[in-house]
């Protein structure tokens, strides 16, 4: 009998972690030859994307922030460098650009998101951004070094986008940079957002707006970017407003991966319709989606991809062992936001609890920096116990037949208790 194949598309945080966690918890099946794990990676390199901020606003060297994908996945994983061109959910097959199709028993779509400035008229030519690549982030560093005075706009050009705190961080770090150069009073910094406040979550926005006010960063709200006229150096909104700029830094509109769009398995923006609890793709019990690729109404961030990967790995393991357990993601987010001058806050919440106001501190800043150093080890999946301890409940039991799979790491939530009561 040929081994069952768990196929993972994408080698971002979610894809690599799912592969590594699965390889760890299903090692006996892999060893016995009844299971294989295949990871399709379009790129040889995996980038630590949060470092783009350091590249853009601190001039950090981009070559410090990537590793070869092959060095990050466990040896028992079948790593294929190729581009997925079509996902056929009905026939359990994925077509690749340079070789024959791959069949699967379980699929994990971890194809991420793509920043596309071309989606808005004039934006690609007019703006620089740190969301599409480290090389593009470096262009920002080069540009701000040439500026001695003028107007800089940080504009959110589409939602949702990767890392919700990152536009605020950009404004804070610009302020810090020009203060350090001693020319802050000659540079106007405007933060332009489609939301009604400086950060979408109320409690966090209060902190940001107070700091923006102290640092003389102007906030423009309810501005949904419609077009840019680079000749006149102006941005225009659907709401009928315009603002002039000398340097335009944008968070481009984001879309699902090309393979999701070409396979017709996403919504109009290319996000895969996904159950926000057990992470299955709508109408399929053998296909999952995680991270930026999904349509669930939550932050597109590394921490979300990370926590969802664990839920998916345990759900697949549960299916393979026939335990009947289903795990759910509770919507946990935990995103750091640097506010300049070596201070940060964490944006922390779940589906049921909104992020609360926090006091910026150096300890939180150091935690963010420390995580950056620890990141490559985290991808191994060997430190999930630590995240379980830190967050308390990364995943919870949606339902159980009472059989045990991994008793040590199980966190029983309200839903599971309800189901168990019914079973008893």
């Amino acid at each position: 009998m040929s081994p069952k194949n768990v196929l993972i598309i994408g080698s971002g945080t979610g894809g690599i972690l799912t592969a590594n966690v699965l390889s760890k918890i299903l090692r006996e099946k892999i060893k016995a030859g009844s299971l294989k794990i295949t990871l399709i990676s379009e790129n040889n390199r995996h980038y630590f994307q949060p470092a783009n901020l350091d590249v853009a606003f601190r001039g950090a060297d981009p070559s410090r922030y990537f590793r070869e994908v092959s060095s990050l996945v466990k040896p028992k994983i079948d790593l294929i460098y190729d581009r997925a061109t079509f996902i056929d959910l009905s026939n359990r097959k994925v077509k690749l650009a340079n070789r024959g199709p791959v069949s699967y028993d379980y699929l994990v779509i971890a194809t991420g998101s793509v920043a596309e400035p071309e989606a808005i008229s004039g934006l690609a030519d007019a703006s620089l951004n740190f969301h599409s690549s480290p090389e593009n982030a470096l262009e920002i560093w080069r540009a701000i070094n040439k500026i001695n005075s003028g107007k800089i706009l940080v504009v959110i050009a589409g939602v949702p986008h990767k890392c919700p705190p990152s536009p605020n961080e950009a404004a804070f770090l610009l302020d810090e940079y020009f203060r350090k150069r001693g020319i802050r009073e000659k540079v106007e910094i405007k933060f332009i957002t489609p939301y009604g406040r400086a950060y979408p979550a109320h409690g966090i926005s209060e902190v940001v707006e107070e700091l923006f006010s102290e640092r003389n960063i102007e906030v423009v709200t309810f501005f949904n970017l419609e077009s840019v006229d680079h000749r006149r150096r102006k941005v225009y909104s659907y709401e009928g407003e315009e603002h002039a700029y000398d340097l335009l830094i944008s968070v481009p509109p984001h879309f699902g991966a090309p393979v999701v769009r070409s396979s017709g398995i996403g919504d109009r923006q290319g996000w895969v319709t996904t159950d926000k609890n057990d992470m299955t793709v709508l109408d399929y019990d053998d296909a999952y989606a995680i991270g930026d690729a999904t349509n669930i109404p939550i932050s597109k961030s590394g921490v979300v991809a990370h926590l969802e990967s664990s839920v998916v790995a345990y759900n697949i393991a549960s299916e393979l062992y026939g335990s009947g357990d289903r795990y759910g993601y509770n919507g946990r987010i935990n995103c750091p936001m640097e506010v300049g001058f070596k201070k940060a806050i964490f944006i922390n919440g779940t589906y049921d609890s909104p992020p609360r106001r926090q006091v910026p501190s150096m300890v939180k800043y150091l935690m963010k920096r420390l995580f950056g150093r620890f990141y490559w080890n985290v991808l191994s999946g060997d430190f999930e116990w630590m995240f379980n301890l830190y967050f308390g409940e990364i995943k919870y039991m949606l339902k159980t037949r009472g059989l045990t799979l991994h008793e040590g790491s199980r966190q029983v939530g309200k839903e599971a208790e309800t189901v168990q009561e019914e079973l008893h």
Binding site: P160, F222, Y236, S237, Y238, G240, R268, P297, I298, G349
Partner: protein, 82 residues
């Protein structure tokens, strides 16, 4: 030109960050004048956020209904500036 009025349900329940209004923006970009959008949200801030946004965009809040555990906000896209 078609005069058909579209009605779209935007389910943003469970979203606090980046928040339900994110889903509304997505729908608004694709909407045409006259379209009706129904936003479902669990975030209590959605009510005031949508009212402020509607005022800014000239959209009409046709109704706010308290459902079991969530709110349903009905918005008509009256005019798009550009």
């Amino acid at each position: 030109m078609s005069s058909e009025i579209n009605r779209r349900i935007v389910d943003a329940r469970g979203s606090f960050c980046p928040g339900p209004i994110t889903e509304l923006f997505k729908a608004y970009r694709e909407a045409r004048e006259g379209d009706v959008l129904e936003l479902l949200a669990t975030d209590p801030a959605a009510k005031s956020d949508v009212q402020a946004w509607a005022k800014k965009t000239g959209s009409e809040v046709m109704g706010i209904v308290e459902e079991q555990g969530y709110i349903r906000i009905i918005i008509k896209v009256v005019k798009k500036a550009r």
